[in-house]
């Protein structure tokens, strides 16, 4: 019996202790007509060897492509030590640290994660992570509505240059709570959000402005001006950032005069594999004054009854298991294992290593854009500077070109026409430090062939 250890002698002894004749007797409180039938739709069980072989053949089916796709998930080199340690049974098979004394490993790891994220973002505090960046942005919007007590409108300014999948997720999670997301268009030439695009909203009541740095197009926003404008209007600033980029870019805590109020993002680039979109790891940081509005687990350092330092879950009065219907969120887990991986990754890379990853990703994308942009009919769509993604305009619809590239083993980028009708001939491309000069050459050659 897979994973069930009981011998027939065990079963007999256990039934005897219970005073039951059979296992079936233990279900005698369940009305007979509710008992399940034969479950004919389920297959017979297989051995570990058989299932492994089946899954290995399926995994091979999907492997072996050259990927220039980012759009919210980024391939970076993951040091071997990261997952060898994260999947140790002591991390892998522990649960939420309810018994703090027997969970100091997980708790200290979270405390270190909180510290790393606070330092990377330039903020005062961090939580223990949330499901992913997109749902994290939804939690940040709800948090801003609680934290901005002067605002009564339930409205938040959401630029169109924010990842459309994130915007959809925010809508799905927030729409039943009387939250209104008001779109801000991007500048069609620059590919970023201009402060002038916001001026029409001056004097109106919004709880917060979302600023993505870099934005979905890879573009670098004028974060100082946007932040100062929002603060002057009495709005909070929610920063949505890429953690790799923060090795090079101004941390949100230093944006404008006063810095961002809430910071969220996706920690996937920090040692977490692409893995079809999850498990990833949303991070969430804030200024100290907003900490009691933060959702999710938070770990604090304290002392035991001998005065020795230790770590424990804290500020639990915000959470669902205490506050029930008055909680800050229904969230109970974090992304423990992925968070552990991100913590180990950042410790291994250190400040110089992370900066080198960011620099190579930026430089490779610059090279890619220069090579592809030199092909007849291909041009760079936007004028503003970018981090490690950029938009190219093609002479044909992206929905025609990308499948032809895929047939030749290249995933050429993201079809922006899926979300932006005006960008139907545009593709969002990315080349991290994992793409070599040969990879980029190959893409340029194949794209030229496809467009010829």
């Amino acid at each position: 019996m897979p994973f069930i250890p009981h011998t027939s002698d065990d079963v007999q002894a256990m039934l005897a202790a219970i005073g039951a004749d059979s296992i079936e007797d233990l279900f005698d409180e369940i009305p007979a007509h509710l008992k399940a039938g034969a479950l004919a739709g389920l297959p017979e069980g297989l051995s570990e060897m058989e299932v492994t072989a089946l899954m290995a053949s399926r995994a091979r089916q999907d492997a072996g492509v050259l990927c220039f796709l980012g759009a919210g998930a980024y391939e970076h080199h993951i040091p071997a030590a990261v997952w060898e340690i994260a999947t140790r049974g002591e991390y892998y098979t522990a649960y939420t640290p309810y018994q703090a004394e027997a969970s100091q490993g997980t708790l200290q790891t979270i405390y270190e994660f909180q510290t790393l994220m606070a330092r990377l973002t330039g903020m005062d505090a961090s939580n223990a992570s949330v499901y992913d960046g997109a749902s994290g942005l939804a939690e940040a919007v709800l948090m801003a509505l609680r934290a901005n007590r002067k605002s009564k409108s339930g409205r938040v300014l959401m630029p169109e240059a924010v990842n459309p999948r994130y915007r959809q997720t925010v809508t799905a999670i927030c729409e039943n709570q009387n939250v209104e997301l008001v779109s801000v268009p991007f500048d069609a030439a620059a590919g970023t959000t201009a402060v002038t695009a916001l001026s029409g909203y001056a004097g109106e009541d919004f709880a917060a402005l979302v600023i993505a740095q870099p934005n979905f197009f890879g573009g670098l926003e004028d974060v100082d001006a946007l932040t100062d404008w929002a603060h002057a209007q009495g709005m909070l600033v929610i920063a949505l950032v890429n953690p790799t980029a923060l090795a090079l870019l101004t941390p949100p805590g230093e944006w404008g005069e006063k810095g961002a109020d809430i910071v969220v993002g996706e920690a996937q680039p920090l040692g977490i594999p692409l893995s079809s979109g999850g498990p990833y790891c949303g991070f969430m940081c804030c200024k100290q004054q907003h900490i009691r509005q933060m959702p999710g687990r938070i770990i604090g350092r304290t002392v035991d009854l001998e005065g020795k330092p230790g770590f424990t879950l804290t500020l639990q009065a915000r959470e669902q298991h205490i506050r029930r219907s008055k909680a800050t969120s229904n969230i109970c887990t974090n992304q423990g294992l992925a968070m552990t991986a991100a913590t180990i990754y950042l410790s291994l890379l250190g400040p110089e290593g992370l900066e080198a990853v960011a620099a190579h990703s930026h430089a490779n994308t610059q090279t890619l854009v220069a090579r592809l942009g030199a092909i007849d009919g291909v041009s760079v769509a936007f004028t503003d500077a970018t981090f490690h993604e950029a938009v190219l305009r093609l002479p044909k619809p992206a929905s025609e070109v990308l499948p032809q590239l895929a047939e030749r083993g290249i995933i050429g980028g993201y079809d922006l026409g899926l979300d932006f009708p005006s960008l139907a001939d545009c593709v969002l491309v990315c080349a991290t430090e994992t793409r070599t000069a040969d990879d980029i050459d190959l893409y340029a050659t194949v794209l030229a062939e496809v467009l010829a």
């Binding site: 009981h6 017979e44 505090a125 999670i173």
Partner: protein, 492 residues
């Protein structure tokens, strides 16, 4: 002597200029970054630790050992289903083809992954008796959110806008009321009677045109099967409400009873419980949702579909225009879903039926043994489901020893403590869930530990109040932690 004292932080190991040089690409000349405007550049490098690879490996390896874990200890945490997490599932989910697949890769290069997900959807439908499944919710609480959001979308699609309340039995998990509020509903709690069943008369009185639905688990959080489920379903349905099944306790009935057959319209499943994926120190989980026919149009996207030619493809907003939408950037916790797929394939039909049977056997055995050594069941007249409740109200009153004291002392016996003080309606309680994967010997060791602790409680209650003694730290000052917040290491 270890190179690392207890509680040393990775930041304290840092020395300027020390690097794990093999891990990162070589530094680039500054001119390669000239395209980034200087005004947007960081003025100072972030204060990440500067440590060697060996220091990192040793630090986190040592930290990991300061945890209890299923791989090390019996972990009978009620309502959490801490069963064995098969290593084979981990290896399969970490195959390079799966790890390297970009979430937005074209369907032409995703058929292997999509085939696994399509089959998992079908398995979950069959084992729960539901008509449609979406795998996207990333945890149980997000599955709950999806479920209640679908209930709301269903009523709204029928222009039935007067429904403002969700009914919840008072023993429910805290996520239930928190979720209802996130979906814009008011919560009305329904009392539970002395045998652990819902007070049906009170429920009927609470049902009305304002009722959007009822959220409940069965077996309930009282560790017993709700015998009046037919009557409950009828009362809620007759009022026009829908029934939501919180799958927290699905392990108790897997293969034995199907939520769809009990009349539930929408359910979520915790794959990190019932399908043996790891809890990872607090996640990631996976909380797929299943629905009856009438809720299928509202399922969260994307879902995997199969065309007539056998090709798999994503079903998204275009296919399901009434969907409640996307709950994550991509398609939930794919790696967790792959582990659950592995588990489901290894178990197969017979294996899944055995899960419900043997988890129930283990719980009933452990209950009888603990009762025999003097523990007090909360519901002595009832069968245990896959879990059961003990109350130490008597010990608290006569010996001054709380459930928390007993829980902390269990750690000294190398046993993880059960869930304490939940459900809230039973005073000084343990919620104990042994799971089907523990040997009889492991259960007997737990009984022996409890017997010894109860003797200590009678002879020397102070001993328990000071526990634990064997862990990296003694009992921690939670009040200080909340009053003098120290959430990040502030020294450089």
């Amino acid at each position: 002597m270890s190179t690392q004292a207890d509680n040393t932080l990775i930041f304290e190991l840092s020395r300027p200029g020390r690097r794990a040089a093999a891990q990162a690409p070589r530094a680039l000349p500054a001119e390669r970054l000239s395209a980034i405007p200087a005004a947007l550049r960081r003025k100072q490098r972030p204060a990440l630790p500067e440590v060697s690879e060996l220091q990192v490996v040793r630090h986190y390896t040592n930290l990991s050992t300061r945890n209890f874990a299923i791989d090390k200890q019996f972990y009978p945490l009620g309502s959490c289903t801490m069963k064995y997490n098969p290593r084979g599932a981990n290896r399969a989910a970490m195959l390079p083809g799966f790890l390297g697949r970009h979430p937005l890769a074209p369907e032409s290069h995703s058929q292997g992954y999509l085939a696994c997900m399509f089959e998992l959807q079908e398995f979950l439908k069959e084992v729960t008796g539901m008509q449609g499944v979406s795998l996207t919710p990333m945890a149980g609480a997000q599955g709950e959110f999806a479920g209640v959001a679908m209930i709301r979308a269903y009523h709204e699609a029928r222009n039935d806008d007067a429904r403002t309340e969700i009914l919840i039995p008072e023993a429910a998990h805290g996520t239930n009321p928190a979720t209802a509020v996130m979906c814009g509903y008011k919560v009305r709690e329904v009392p539970v009677n002395k045998d652990g069943d819902v007070d049906l008369a009170a429920l009927k009185a609470a049902c009305g045109p304002q009722t959007a639905g009822l959220m409940m688990t069965n077996p309930s959080t009282c560790g017993v099967f709700e015998r009046q489920i037919d009557g409950i379903a009828k009362a809620v349905h007759e009022a026009g409400g829908l029934l939501y099944y919180d799958g927290a306790n699905l392990n108790a009935i897997l293969g034995k009873v199907r939520p769809g057959d009990m009349g539930f319209d929408v359910i979520h499943m915790n794959l990190h419980k019932t399908f043996a994926t790891p809890h990872g120190g607090g996640g990631p989980g996976a909380g797929p949702v299943g629905v009856s026919e009438r809720l299928k149009p509202f399922l969260p996207t994307p879902i995997v579909g199969r065309d007539d030619d056998g090709r798999y493809r994503w079903l998204d907003q275009n296919d399901l225009p009434q969907s409640i939408g996307h709950l994550s950037a991509f398609m939930g916790n794919a790696g967790v879903l792959l582990r659950a797929y592995f588990y489901a394939r290894v178990l197969g039909r017979e294996g899944m039926i055995r899960v419900g049977e043997y988890s129930t056997l283990a719980a009933n055995y452990l209950l009888k043994r603990l009762e025999a050594i003097g523990c007090t069941p909360a519901y002595p007249e009832r069968r245990a489901s896959h879990e059961f409740i003990l109350t130490f109200a008597k010990e608290a009153k006569t010996l001054g020893v709380s459930a928390m004291d007993i829980a902390k002392r269990l750690l000294d016996y190398n046993q993880h403590a059960p869930t304490t003080y939940f459900p809230l309606l039973v005073p000084e309680c343990f919620l104990i869930e042994p799971t089907e994967t523990e040997t009889k010997e492991a259960l007997d060791e737990f009984v022996a530990a409890m017997e010894s602790i109860l003797a200590e409680a009678r002879d020397n209650p102070e001993l328990l109040k000071g526990a634990p003694y064997s862990q990296p730290v003694r009992r921690l000052d939670d009040v200080k932690a909340a009053r003098e917040l120290d959430l990040v290491w502030s020294k450089l």
